[in-house]
Symmetry: C2
Subunit: 586 residues, 2 copies
């Protein structure tokens, strides 16, 4: 049986940075070649980044993607890397992409893969299964391909597929079996979700069985707006054996020798292909020779605990949002509470303490510990700590307007928002807002107050998970002999907005260990009132919570982007009408 | 030839208000019956309102829609209206709707129509063509139907279709011809766009020719979040003759007698139906007898000027947003400039002067005319006028922080935002923000400052159109002998943000009659740099404008909803990555 040394290049592209992305392919192809690889794989839409959304409709962008691809092929050859076949995702189109009901069939953009060899594009493939759920809108953007591409290289028949092709039965993997291939390449831009890594390996195994072939699965890594790609690239054998697996959340070169069946001398003309697809075959005449040295083994990374995984996802999402948008630093309000403490610790892990400004903004309702806990956090993490009392500004508003009750509470939060934005305008920081997912769900925040900010690291984190993350991060630091970043008092004290005397979250909201399971069922699970009551929740509490969630829709729409870690993060993957009179409780 | 008296009920439902929507069907069916109608038609998804978005995924919501439909059928019979067949849109599903790649085919929600007669649902139809572009996401929400429903009533064969079925060739209208029907019913939830009414009639005529049958087209009217439905219901004969046409932007009962071919004694079993569809036939045994009186004629409304049409769309969108969300009143800042003047005039037209609060918030940089023009507007419109000087609050911030340049400019706008939100919290108003589409496009606004607000009436209106609307509204008032609402000085003076001494928009932006055509090409037309330069624009100006648009994405994402009047309003129908390093100018 032939052996192929595969190099899975788990790298971090940026949407729209065609030059930077191509440079990254050249640098990592060099590493792959240096490791003796005979075939290198890069993620889905590597050339453009993913998701490109409405850029797809711009003819000039499609042309730029095509031009970048051909320049990349030539540059690789110019680099002396032309013999190594490189599979890379890019954006293509059959003609100018169209967006309308009258679009002609076959006119439109393609989510495409190209095999580059000796300075040329020697084979292409267009994604067949297009995802159109959750964060995906590919029915809007792409025309599905109907042809499986099989390439013979190094004596092995290899099929090309892209991402969603793996998640749906039928289509390319069924045709791959009909074509008798030995290996299926799967290039991905598969966003992280809690527990998705647990679903990935069984899924790849199922498709390996369906195709009767080994699968090399390479995934993107890095943050792009609300999405974070976790990598987790892997290789399984035709019988489902896991051969190699890369770590999550870091760029990684996974190099592994895979024994594969030799392609037959002649290939039967398969007919009646699955899903009405067609089949096209190419041959890559020569690839780098097999290494004479010891076999390459990529190793198998073991999964980590959920808290560690989420923490890494949030750190990477925040770092890439700041860096890819070229923010020199971030600023956030430090209340002494758990949300801002966790957000600050995430920011310090992402950017280093010298790029994080924390501002204590006490008022007359602020407790003594709100300041001392914020100070303690600053000392533990080394961030740039400031104090800006809000009382003079609040008093001037109150002297000039007749305000009472919730208007006075919100005023304090809004003065804080103005201070953070003034610091942002003056010094160039990105403002971080720190409302957790539970608060966002029930609208327990001040619009244009504590919700002010360009990015929210804990937007998709339920309050009870915020606490778990804090405890995990502190314990992890202790385990490594480092200072735990988050003050124990911030973890232990009862949550309060401190906008009126003696105020506690529990005056308004159920306890978070009652609230969160209801929210998880209603928001993440689309359970209705009856389903929640059947699950054992108190009907009166359910009614109260559902009413809060249903009426907070506008505030949620105004919330800042933040790293998504679940199926139903608020934002683009949750779409509800603001004007909606339907209530679960009738 | 038989004659059928059709009643097209062009009404205004609210998303989620299942009881209110059903009550509306009962009230309008009564009117239809009183006019001697033999068949009444209501819009797409009449029972639930449209668009329902992620409510579709909630099992309890689908169950509520089904229950409301059957109760409606019974209630109509109880009202003594059971003999009149009523076609109404509702939400259905084959089983619990699923959202995932693994959804089983045929499991999922349906965009459905039901014919109600004598207390029963006697026929249903599931929408075949699902739109998935612009504001539509129906591939995400619905499973397409594959069966055309034909109902024989009053001796005529009548086919049922829904909205997008009309906009795409093939499918239901082709099968309708194969089935030999005399009339196709088309129920719609078709959002307004400038010039869409001009496309509608030719399209309906084309489908009448395709089906070889008359078409009765009924559309929803009213505002739902960013969408506004314009009505414009109409009837064409099989030869394309326009028989009747309803006005836009108002509820309307269009009753018209249509001569139709008698159904054949026997219907041939058509085979090989278009698009692989199936065909099902029903019979409605008895309908109300034809009126002995004079023929009913619905009349043909002539189209109005673009400015009148847009003005009505914006008024209806704002009115329904306020009323459907149950806001008692609105508040907005009055700068004396054209945007806030037009927004105020729209608000007064929508809600009446007693529901509109206008606040002048002068600073040390405010011109004398900023106050006198605002006062003049208040007098002309009769709105509730207030003055809240911002200087004391601005001075207190400046005394407590070291701010300069743009930070000081933005501070003033943010203090104004805090004042408006405080009034909203204290008195219950909806805050209107008034940035026009040109400002939003280039980011010429203060985030959390003048962008504060729950709704923006001019969000989708280019600056040059704002001026045209103002002139049209004043001229229209003069024509009717009323006081023109907008001060001439607000229309005539050069635009300024008045955030620093002597500041004018033209210090930062090209003149709006240079800027707007570039923005329209880039934003609405997806033209690239080269296309814009080829159209005759100055390359240096194009580069400057494109760079501003590309870097303003985050601000645009934070903008308030507002009535959409174009294909590419900012918001849900324009999706661009924030982190995007691609630039048209390289």
């Amino acid at each position: 049986m032939p052996t192929l040394r595969l190099a899975l290049c788990q790298v971090n592209p940026t949407v729209g940075d065609l030059t930077g992305n191509a440079d990254r392919v050249r640098a990592w192809t060099r590493k792959a070649a240096d490791s003796g690889a005979q075939l290198a794989l890069f993620p889905e839409l590597m050339v453009t980044g993913y998701p490109v959304e409405d850029l797809v409709f711009r003819r000039s962008f499609v042309a730029a993607s095509r031009a970048a691809l051909h320049r990349l092929a030539a540059d690789l050859a110019g680099d002396g890397l032309g013999d190594l076949p490189v599979l890379v995702g890019y954006l293509d189109a059959d003609g100018p992409p169209q967006v309308s009901a009258d679009a002609e069939p076959g006119r439109g953009a393609r989510n495409a893969a190209a095999l580059l060899h000796r300075g040329e594009v020697v084979a292409t493939y267009f994604k067949h299964h297009l995802p159109n759920y959750g964060v995906f809108d590919e029915d809007r953007y792409f025309v599905p391909g109907d042809t499986l591409t099989v390439v013979r290289l190094g004596g092995v028949d290899v099929a090309l597929t892209i991402c969603e092709d793996l998640w749906q039965a039928g289509g390319p993997f069924a045709v791959a079996r009909q074509a008798g291939v030995g290996l299926v390449l799967s290039i991905n831009g598969s966003p992280y979700e809690l527990n998705k890594d647990d679903a990935r390996l069984p899924l790849v195994r199922r498709r390996a069985a369906e195709a009767g072939a080994a699968i090399a699965y390479v995934n993107m890594v890095g943050g792009q707006d609300e999405l974070v790609y976790d990598g987790d690239s892997l290789i399984v054998d035709a019988d489902g054996t896991l051969l190699a697996r890369a770590p999550q959340f870091v760029e990684h070169l996974l190099v592994h020798d895979v024994e594969l069946p030799a392609a037959p001398e002649t290939t039967g003309g398969a007919t009646d292909l699955a899903d009405g697809m067609r089949l096209v075959r190419h041959e890559v005449p020569a690839i780098p020779p097999a290494s004479g040295g010891p076999a390459a083994t990529g190793g198998i990374i073991e999964p980590v605990a959920d808290e560690a995984e989420v923490w890494q996802a949030l750190v990477l999402g925040l770092r890439d949002y700041a860096d890819k948008n070229r923010f020199p630093s971030v600023v956030l309000g430090l209340s002494g509470g758990i949300d801002s403490a966790v957000a600050a610790a995430l920011a310090v892990d992402a950017l280093g303490p010298q790029r994080v400004v924390g501002v204590s903004m006490p008022s007359q309702h602020s407790s003594e510990h709100s300041r001392t806990d914020a100070e303690d956090l600053a000392k533990r993490t080394g961030l740039d700590y400031r104090i800006e009392p809000i009382q003079p500004m609040v008093d001037t508003f109150l002297a000039n307007m007749s305000l009472s009750g919730v208007a006075v509470e919100n005023l304090q939060a809004r003065v804080r928002g103005v201070i953070l934005m003034a610091l942002s305008n003056q010094e160039g920081h990105l403002v971080l807002t720190t409302g957790n997912k539970s608060e966002l769900a029930v609208g327990y925040s001040t619009l244009y107050g504590d919700s002010v900010g360009g990015y929210n690291p804990v937007k998709d984190v339920w309050k009870t998970l915020v606490w778990r993350l804090a405890k995990w991060r502190n314990a992890d630091a202790a385990r490594r002999g480092e200072t735990p970043p988050i003050p124990e008092n911030s973890i232990g004290k009862p949550p309060s907005a401190e906008l009126s005397p003696g105020q506690l979250d529990s005056d308004t909201l159920p306890d978070y260990d009652v609230l969160d399971p209801i929210l998880i069922g209603y928001v993440d699970g689309d359970l209705g009132r009856d389903g929640l009551v059947e699950s054992g929740h108190d009907p009166a509490v359910v009614d109260k919570v559902l009413r809060m969630v249903d009426t907070a829709e506008y505030k949620r729409r105004q919330s800042a982007p933040g790293t998504k870690i679940s199926m139903k993060a608020f934002g683009r993957d949750r779409r509800l009408p603001i004007t909606n009179r339907w209530r679960e409780d009738g």
